[in-house]
Amino acid sequence: MVDAVLPADAVVVARLRARDETMFAALIDAWSPGMVRAARAFVADDHTAQDVVQEAWLGVLRGIDGFQERSSLRTWVYRIVVNKAKTRGVRDARTVPASSLGLDDGPTVDPARFRGADDPYPGHWRSFPPAWPSPEDDAVAGETRRQLAAALAGLPDRQRVVVTLRDVSGHSSEEVCEMLSISAANQRVLLHRGRAALRATLEQHWIKEAMA
């Protein structure tokens, strides 16, 4: 997501400190949708996500005069969202490392899709992943988004949070690591598992559709 309409951080910060309401309104309009989505990755319902984003903006007001510009303004704002969301998140009652639940281990594609050790081509596809209908088709694109939204909600918590921040909200891996205080390697594993699971859901959906 590109914030084409917003000026550089230094300008935005100076205007907010000067209590320029137009600037604040522009910022709210540009960033709130992504913030609601990010918050929704942590909390159980839309209402709580809305609350979290309001609280976060109030946190931005409280903090803007002391903002040090060590990170980008957007990353700083999202970190406030993440922190507020974590204190509210019923879904965040999960300090158990996911690896201990086996969620971060093992192959992301069903091993049965690949040829066995006794085959002349071990580890190669038994049959290629079937082609998907073209996303140029509006009905296909709409159905893809519906399937993805549902599948995203069903991902393990840490995967859902990372995929939402990276692929839905469009943050860089550095930003996400900073927001969540996780290592680059950990972030990549969660992103990888999440994306693979979502791709598999779409594949299952299009296979079922093709047979219907």
Partner: protein, 76 residues
């Protein structure tokens, strides 16, 4: 490189995080395997579609409340 190894390296590849030697083996495999080419393309399509999920808007009342709070906020 085998396909079952390839599918586990897709994210690291897209992140530009593969060691050079592994990236070369990854790209070589990609060039000769239609199944893995399709797999990578479908991961890309998934990521692209995620970036187009409908926005969840902030409720208008919440926006009004925030602007009112901003107006009343003491100057720093």
């Amino acid at each position: 490189m085998n396909c079952d190894e390839f599918v586990e390296l897709v994210t690291a590849y897209l992140e530009g995080a593969l060691p050079l030697e592994t990236e070369q083996r990854f790209v070589e495999h990609l060039a000769e395997c239609d199944g893995c080419d399709r797999y990578l393309e479908q991961i890309r399509a998934t990521v692209d579609a995620l970036g187009h999920l409908p926005a969840q808007r902030l409720a208008p009342e919440a926006r009004d409340r925030l602007l009112a709070a901003f107006r009343d906020w003491p100057a720093g």
